[in-house]
């Protein structure tokens, strides 16, 4: 829903897309007000994980102002200056670390000091990208924008499954004065499949059974499949039992698709068979490969953000079908920065696939083009 503007403050309704709005507000320096946050729910107001996100933003900025109403159903946020630097944060266990990590990733290049963040919490969550996925699929995207990798790093120190978590990661991100424009229209062919299976506080055979099943599916398409197992022991295994898998498909043009699956939470009353889990994950990965595009579908919005904030130059990127989340993000980008993307559906120009049937079933590709707004990190001096 479009925002209403009042005294240069963007006013939104509802708790949906809370993170997008705070993130863009911080980058653009525009104040926002969010009203009617779960106002008609039994449990009204902001949830713990959202307050936790505000805390994190408060830690990496200087001079942010947050005003919450007494009931917590409306808030006002006036962003400060992005500082970055050393941050240690214990994330809410209601959401995964990915929820917070994505924000840090988006803000990282624009901080004053290189970001060095230690995040604690749940490393794998159903609603959020896992730390493995960020490491495998998102960091290569950022590399395309900053070109030189001086200290971009994500280390999984400990894993932690929901509900109790207990995982820990270290994320380091260099700063840039401005981002490079991006031309990324080819993604090539999948050349190898890699993966990690982790088993926390469960029998190690679980991991092997997952590997077996996932590998069985992927080997039908490609011989180069290698799946690691990460058997965590003692304190490294977090506080709750669980197991899961993330598979990465790498193409010969350096595009990474990543799919994940994890076991149901302990105590939820369901049981997850490792074989089914492995198979489900492999099928999700195949689906991702079918949708294709130069970036993984979960990170379309990150690409859009960095393209929009790039130098005053044309960036273009071809992605698969836009996710609902990306569409919302593009709308927000327009509201906060006034950037509008040119979106074109590409028609298949494969000469050899002349059958009409083939055309109907291939997923649509969308070419996103925009001119960067020339966002400059004023804290970073040119040498």
């Amino acid at each position: 829903m479009p925002a209403t503007v009042h005294n240069d403050v963007l006013i939104y309704k509802g708790s949906n897309l809370f993170r997008q709005r705070l993130l863009l507000s911080t980058l653009s320096g525009r104040s926002i007000k969010i009203v009617e946050i779960r106002s008609s729910h039994d449990d009204p107001g902001l949830k713990e994980y959202e307050v936790n996100l505000i805390r994190l933003l408060d830690k990496i900025t200087n001079g942010s102002r947050v005003e919450l109403s007494e009931t917590g159903t409306s808030m006002y946020y006036q962003p400060g200056i992005l500082i970055g630097g050393q941050v240690s944060h214990s994330c809410s266990t209601q959401r995964g670390i990915g929820y917070y990590l994505e924000v840090l990733l988006a803000l990282g290049p624009f901080c004053k000091e290189p970001l060095n963040a230690v995040l604690q919490g749940v490393t794998h969550h159903n609603l959020d990208v896992s730390v493995d996925k960020v490491k495998a699929a998102a960091l290569p995207i950022l590399l395309k924008f900053i070109l030189v990798d001086d200290g971009l790093e994500l280390k999984v120190v400990r894993r932690g499954a929901p509900p109790l978590g207990g995982g820990e990661i270290v994320f380091k991100c260099p700063v840039r004065r401005h981002l490079r424009p991006l031309q990324w229209t080819k993604w090539g062919l999948v050349k190898r499949i890699r993966g990690v299976v982790y088993a926390l506080r469960v029998s190690p055979t679980m991991a092997n059974r997952v590997v077996e099943a996932a590998k069985g599916v992927m080997l039908k398409f490609l011989p180069d499949v290698y799946i690691n197992t990460d058997q965590c022991r003692g304190p490294n295994a977090g506080k709750s039992p669980g197991f899961g898998v993330s598979l990465v498909a790498e193409t010969n043009e350096n595009t990474f698709y990543c799919a994940e699956a994890k076991s149901a939470e302990s105590g939820a009353g369901e049981t997850t068979l490792p074989e089914e889990l492995g198979r489900a994950c492999a099928l999700t990965l195949l689906d991702e490969i079918h949708r294709a595009g130069a970036v993984d579908s979960a990170f379309q919005w990150l690409v859009a953000l960095w393209m929009a904030l790039g130098q005053k130059d044309v960036s273009e990127c071809v992605v698969g079908p836009l996710s609902e989340y990306t569409i919302k993000f593009l709308q927000h980008l327009k509201e906060f920065f006034g950037v509008m993307f040119k979106l074109e559906a590409l028609t298949d120009d494969d000469e050899d696939s002349s059958e009409d049937e083939d055309k109907v079933t291939t997923a649509q590709k969308i070419k996103m083009t925009c001119v960067g707004i020339g966002y400059v990190n004023i804290s970073k001096r040119t040498l």
Binding site: M1, Q20, Y325
Partner: protein
């Protein structure tokens, strides 16, 4: 999958994304005129749901959804069985082992 359909059928992606925005930012919500003439009563008992009401209802449902950046965000995806021979052909050429393009 319904989502695929929608994106495919909508001719113009620009409109799908930016459709809610007219050119330039809206500064005020459009005035709502209560009791419009399209509020028909059927048999004096039921009221017909107008499209604006439907849209409002949909917006309300979306208001407090949990935020999730995945493609199939909150609903479980109905994936195709990619191991089926016919489906397999669709993606076989996305791999280096597939048919070589000239």
């Amino acid at each position: 999958m319904a989502y695929f359909e929608r994106q495919r059928t909508s001719r113009n992606i620009m409109k799908l994304v930016y459709g809610e925005f007219e050119i330039g930012n809206k500064t005020k919500e459009p005035e709502e005129s209560e009791g419009q003439s399209d509020e028909e009563e059927i048999g004096g008992l039921f009221k017909k749901v107008t499209s604006t009401q439907k849209k409002k209802h949909k917006e309300k449902e979306q208001l407090d959804l949990d935020e999730c950046s995945f493609f199939y965000s909150l609903d479980k995806p109905k994936l195709r069985d990619w191991l089926n021979e016919a489906n397999k052909q669709l993606i076989a050429n996305s791999f280096v082992t597939g048919k070589r393009s000239a």
